[in-house]
């Protein structure tokens, strides 16, 4: 029983162990470069190709891929495989248009072929930030750097997802490199809305035909601050009447006269046997005069100063509040932010050369 269990464990160990010939892409690349240096060109080419074919976690880095393609192109030149050499160098330029084979390492016949490919291959690569947060009031710009393999006619534009033009960023010749900037506005100067946009970098031949399109998708998120609602003007129910109606004046008149009459007439009924004081006439006269004066000062249509002042204060307070909200909202409207996230670039081949 123990011997059988031991056999099973040994078998499991043997099957789980990696095969002896399996090597990582960088190792394969190193072997391929070693073979090239040993002039074992027939061994170098497949090793270098194999290193480039590895994908996923063990794949070469961009810098290693550049090295692999450079050595692969040189190997094919020395093997007299011109088409393969051109293809390798083109792939190299697609990956990094600024890269050049080191003349101290590679012989002139290699660099000459590369130069020929370089002159024929019009390609750009852009370095785009993965995320840009623009505050438009601060005149922030979305920036990208474009690197070209060789001088050619070039157009950079931002389009909507359906292909309609949003903004042309550049049209003209491109040499070694070019900085692109976008302020987040379309051709009419309006800030673009949220959505998917495309940053198209187009390489053209002298005849204007499309050679190659380098496209980076942009996800734009427009962030606006909510504005405050305007304060309501003071309602009529809140405002005081600014002119007298007929009622206060009549109330004053009849109030004064009625009390004056009462003070003259009623004491005789209350105390019929008493010799009534004439002084009550003075009080009655004062009351009646006050009533008449009240009627005159409160006649219909005459302004009520205190109410006018109170209403003016309320309206002014509303105006002040409205002005404050308008200023705050103006600031909020200026505070527009655009968050731009870039996606993986794609290259589309055209018909031009």
């Amino acid at each position: 029983m123990t011997a059988r269990r031991g056999s099973i464990l040994l078998a499991a160990f043997l099957f789980a162990a990696p095969p002896a010939h399996a090597q990582s892409a960088p190792d394969v690349l190193a072997r391929g470069i070693g073979a090239y240096n040993d002039l074992s060109l027939e061994d170098a080419a497949p090793l270098l190709r194999r290193s480039l074919q590895v994908e996923g976690g063990g794949a070469l880095t961009t810098w290693e891929r550049v090295r692999a393609l450079t050595y692969l192109g040189a190997t094919e030149v020395l093997r007299r495989s011109a088409d393969s050499a051109v293809a390798a160098f083109q792939r190299l330029l697609f990956l990094d248009p600024r890269n050049r084979p080191d003349p101290l390492i590679f012989p002139p016949e290699v660099t000459d072929v590369f130069e020929a490919v370089l002159r024929q291959t019009k390609v750009v690569v852009a370095r785009v930030p993965p995320e840009t947060d623009l505050q438009l009031s601060a005149s922030d710009r979305f920036s990208a750097w474009v690197f070209a393999s060789s001088p050619h006619e070039f157009t950079a534009e931002v389009t909507y997802d359906d292909g309609r033009l949003a903004r042309t960023l550049y049209t003209g010749p491109i040499g070694d490199s070019l900085g692109l900037q976008w302020n987040g506005r379309d051709e009419t100067g309006q800030v673009v809305t949220s959505g998917r946009y495309l940053l198209n970098m187009i390489s053209r031949d002298p005849a204007g035909r499309l050679i190659r399109l380098y496209r980076v998708p942009l996800d734009v998120d427009l962030r606006l601050r909510d504005t405050l609602p305007h304060p309501e003007p003071p309602a009529d129910s809140v405002l005081l009447p600014e002119a007298y109606t007929s009622r206060p004046g009549l109330e004053a008149l009849f109030g004064g006269l009625a009390v004056g009459v009462a003070i003259v007439a009623l004491p005789a009924a209350f105390s019929p046997e008493a010799d009534l004081s004439n002084g009550r006439f003075a009080i009655a006269g004062a009351l009646s005069l006050a009533g008449v004066a009240g009627f005159v000062t409160r006649r219909p249509g005459s302004p009520i100063g205190a109410n006018i002042r109170a209403n003016t204060g309320r309206r002014q307070a509303w105006q002040d509040a409205l002005l404050a909200v308008q200023e705050e909202n103006a600031g909020r409207r200026r505070d527009v932010r655009l968050v731009i996230r870039s996606g993986p670039a794609v290259r589309i081949e055209g018909t031009g050369r």
Binding site: V259, F270, S271, L276, R280, I283, A284
Partner: protein, 217 residues
């Protein structure tokens, strides 16, 4: 029946919304000067009516909270008859509980006492239990108001004669309150009559009043 009517009226007034902000206590007090006149049969029912005049001094005050008010008033003076040796001292005091259902109407109840003390000695005392109604409509501005008050005694006592008969009176005048300062003034005319049950004596006191005070009216 009278007591029930008074209680019902008070309940109605208290159920109305307050004339001022609840909980805001207000006070005022004022000094009073005036000229008084007394008409009475002091010598008895068969004698001619006596007419005495004199100066009055006193004070009045009020404390109010919510729609309730308490008023006090004290007046004293010496009255003399023209051309005679008849003279007496008058003392009046009131303590009234009021309710103000709306800003310009007040209903008040309470005791009102009055005494006459002649130089010859002895004191005649009146005690009136009164119900009063007062209106204060504005005439010129909120600062200047007229007032008119009328009252009747629903019960009373006297310490002389045949017993309490009745009492009634009125007062009217003009109140001015300064806009920016807590001072106020008032002029008014008042007549107040009390009678014995037998009708043998009827005292009428008339007052021309000037009151100056401080505090929120």
């Amino acid at each position: 029946m009278k007591r029930r009517a008074v209680l019902a009226l008070l309940a109605l007034c208290l159920s109305l919304p307050p004339a001022r902000a609840a909980g805001q206590a207000r006070y005022y007090a004022g000094g009073l000067v005036g000229a008084g006149r007394l008409d009475s049969e002091l010598g008895g029912p068969d004698t001619p009516r006596d007419e005495l005049t004199g100066a009055l001094f006193g004070f009045e005050g009020r404390a109010s909270i919510w729609k309730l008010e308490v008023d006090v008033r004290y007046v004293t003076g010496t009255f003399e008859a023209d051309g005679s040796r008849l003279a007496l001292d008058l003392v009046e005091a009131e303590l009234l509980l009021g309710v103000r259902p709306i800003s310009w109407i007040t209903l008040r109840v309470g005791p009102h006492a009055r005494s006459f003390t002649p130089e010859s000695g002895g004191t005649d005392r009146w005690l009136f239990w009164e119900v009063r109604g007062r209106v204060e409509p504005a005439v010129l501005a909120p600062q200047l108001r007229t007032y008119f008050e009328i009252w009747a005694a629903v019960a009373g006592e006297v310490n002389f004669g045949s017993g309490f008969g009745g009492g009634r009176g009125l007062e009217a005048g003009l109140t001015y309150r300064l806009r920016q300062a807590p001072f106020w003034g008032r002029i008014g005319y008042r007549v107040d009559r009390g009678s014995l049950e037998s009708g043998a004596r009827k005292d009428s006191v008339q007052e021309l009043l000037l009151v100056v005070g401080v505090g929120a009216r």
